[in-house]
């Protein structure tokens, strides 16, 4: 086998310019794909991180039917205290869970005593919420990065529109599920940067304040956001939690809970899917580039060496060995293109990372593009290139191996 590689490499070096051109084409393809995957992947994971770590959490658990009506923030679909307690017990037992945070979500009127507007609010336990969505504090652009009873953190658009600032006193008025209206004074403790997506323009108050405004006799919960220790285990955990909660049935014998990952809750998931689709098509383009260049070069190689093929066939070289000789040439070209492409691509990705390129997403500006080369991507791209190189060499190699020595020797 070593001798076949030796002959293949020497034959490639024999046509240096052609080999260099083909390898360069493959290299450019690999570099392009690698940089695209790194940049788009970095953008995708950064945005997912922004969404899950500053607002959504990785997974949310609701009472069955809540998500379908989530735009209305239906108080009648909150989890009752007993169900919420059960859910918390289950989550606390699971080793995959890093933190969880119960929330009461409701809509109300926000007044600065001169004018009023609508507001959507999350009632949370601050410590649990900050552990579940750790980037939430980084969104607080003004004021304390904390939330005490009697405090309200208001979204920046609302603060700007209503002319309120940190330290101002405001009133929140809400209607509970029985239709009873209640109000409570709050002190603005912080202003929250808005982000794209559902819940991105919500304000925050303490959960006990929320229960008080809504006149809850027992604490009812709209949702529980969950943060996992390992985000890569998201779908396994979703399945596991779904299985554990499936046994919890309501009085009608229907499931009490529904489990959703961030993907079901954020429209950004569709953008992430689009990025994946684009990545797939970029890979298809790479396959086409490699396939065409290798096949072209191998067809040329066979055509130019017909007499040599005739000679080695006449000497007694078996067709399988002739086939292997040409396939190994294609393989070596693919390996060379993949290795050089991986190296150049990695350097370019590193340079992009070091350049601290910024971009905007929705109302978020100045996000720094942090590109990384994923070893799995390197491996996948290299394997694709090498396999396609071998496949592209097969037809010319097969033709060479099936050549009649007598005809090949006559070739001029």
């Amino acid at each position: 086998m070593g001798n076949l590689f030796k002959i293949a490499v020497r034959n490639l070096l024999r046509y240096r310019r052609r080999t260099l051109l083909t390898a360069s084409l493959i290299t450019i393809g690999v570099v392009f794909v690698l940089v695209f995957i790194s940049v788009s992947g970095s953008f995708k994971y950064m945005m997912i991180g922004q969404l899950t770590d500053s607002m959504l959490g990785h997974i949310q658990v609701h009472r069955k039917g809540y998500v379908a009506s989530i735009e209305n923030l239906p108080l009648n679909l909150n989890l009752k205290a007993q169900a919420a307690s059960k859910l918390t017990d289950v989550l606390n037992r699971l080793p995959e869970v890093a933190a969880n945070s119960p929330r009461i979500k409701f809509g109300g009127m926000f007044s600065n005593f001169t004018e009023s507007t609508n507001i959507r609010l999350n009632g949370v336990y601050p410590d649990r919420e900050f552990r579940t969505v750790p980037l939430l504090t980084s969104r607080i652009v003004n004021g304390a990065k904390a939330l005490n009873r009697g405090d309200i953190i208001v979204p920046d658009l609302l603060a700007k529109g209503m002319g309120v600032k940190v330290g101002d006193t405001v009133v929140v008025v809400a209607t509970n599920q029985d239709g009873s209206v209640n109000g409570k004074q709050f002190k603005v403790s912080g202003v929250l940067e808005s982000i794209t997506g559902p819940g991105g323009r919500d304000g925050y108050i303490h959960i006990e304040d929320a229960a008080e405004i809504l006149r809850m006799e027992e604490m009812e919960i709209s949702e529980v956001a969950v943060r996992l220790k390992d985000f890569r285990g998201l779908h396994d955990f979703e399945e596991k939690l779904g299985g554990l909660l499936a046994g919890e049935l309501n009085k009608q014998g229907k499931p009490t809970f529904e489990v959703h990952t961030w993907e079901n809750l954020s429209p950004f998931y569709n953008i992430a899917r689009m990025i994946d689709v684009m990545t797939f098509f970029i890979k298809v383009m790479l396959i086409a580039i490699v396939l065409i260049s290798i096949m072209n070069v191998m067809v040329m190689a066979v055509y130019e060496r017909i007499r040599e093929i005739g000679t080695i066939a006449a000497i007694g070289t078996l067709p399988g060995k002739i086939l292997a000789m040409f396939v190994i040439e294609g393989f070596c070209l693919g390996v060379a293109g993949a290795i050089i492409g991986d190296l150049v691509g990695s350097v370019i990705v590193f340079v992009i990372d070091m350049s601290h390129i910024t971009f905007d997403f929705g109302r978020q500006t100045g996000l720094i593009l942090s590109t990384k080369v994923n070893p799995e991507d390197l491996l996948a791209i290299s394997v694709i290139v090498i396999i396609v190189s071998v496949i592209a060499s097969l037809q010319p190699a097969f033709k060479a191996s099936r050549m009649e020595p007598i005809k090949a020797l006559r070739h001029v």
Partner: protein
């Protein structure tokens, strides 16, 4: 027992509806360790006959036995195996592999065809390199040596597998006379040393005289067999 037995060999080439006879009912026998030449003008069928003997082609009719094997029934793979074990080839254009050195060209059939173990392979290549006087050029590539040297390497490559038969189609056509005689002398010397049967085709009158048995081909028919210092001189076949 004869190394090659040809019985009523016919070969026709078809071009569309037209059939062109290249060989017409050849009959002959060639003994082991013979030094035989087929001569004749261009188109007389010399190369066609050598191709048949070398299992590179099959006769349209007749039976051809080489080294006790009916070569007309061998398939592609069996033919390759048979050639690798029994036949060496010397080509008019030398046909050395340009990416291999002199040493590697000679080693090629041992390595890639017969898969001889490294130690034995090395010894055989060095021995044949010495026999053809190319030891000092062993690390050169074909484009770094002369035509005569290339043909010596080709002779060495043909002989390194210890074949029973070496076929040479116009082996001296691309060489000057002095080099051509040197190559023929080398082939004879190799025949004497290794007891290998040499069959070559030529139309060079001066080289023709070097053969011990001479068959003349005209229009696909063997017309005359001549044996140097033996029977059959100038007799019709």
């Amino acid at each position: 027992m004869a190394l090659i037995v040809a019985e009523n060999i016919h070969k026709e080439y078809r071009t569309g509806e037209i059939s062109i006879p290249a060989l017409k009912g050849l009959r002959f026998e060639i003994e082991p360790a013979a030094f035989v030449s087929f001569v004749g003008p261009s188109g007389s069928g010399k190369t066609t006959l050598l191709n048949l003997i070398g299992c590179l082609d099959k006769p349209s009719k007749g039976k051809l036995t080489v080294a006790d094997t009916d070569v007309t029934v061998l398939n592609r793979r069996e033919g390759a195996v048979f050639r690798g074990k029994n036949i060496g080839f010397i080509f008019q254009d030398f046909n050395l592999l340009p990416v291999l050195t002199v040493y590697e060209n000679i080693e090629y059939p041992l390595l890639m065809v017969l898969e001889v173990p490294p130690r034995e392979r090395g010894a055989r290549v060095l021995s044949i390199l010495d026999a053809v006087g190319m030891t000092e050029h062993r690390d050169k590539y074909p484009d770094q040596i002369s035509g005569g040297q290339k043909q010596r390497v080709a002779v060495a490559r043909a002989l390194v597998t210890n074949p029973r038969l070496v076929l040479a189609d116009e082996p001296t056509a691309n060489l000057d006379h002095k080099t051509a005689f040197m190559v023929i002398d080398l082939m004879k010397k190799m025949r004497d040393e290794f007891n290998t049967t040499f069959i070559f085709s030529t139309h060079d009158e001066k080289i023709v005289g070097q053969a011990e048995t001479l068959y003349t081909l005209e229009d696909g028919e063997l017309t005359v067999r001549t044996e140097k210092g033996g029977t059959g001189n100038g007799q019709p076949v």
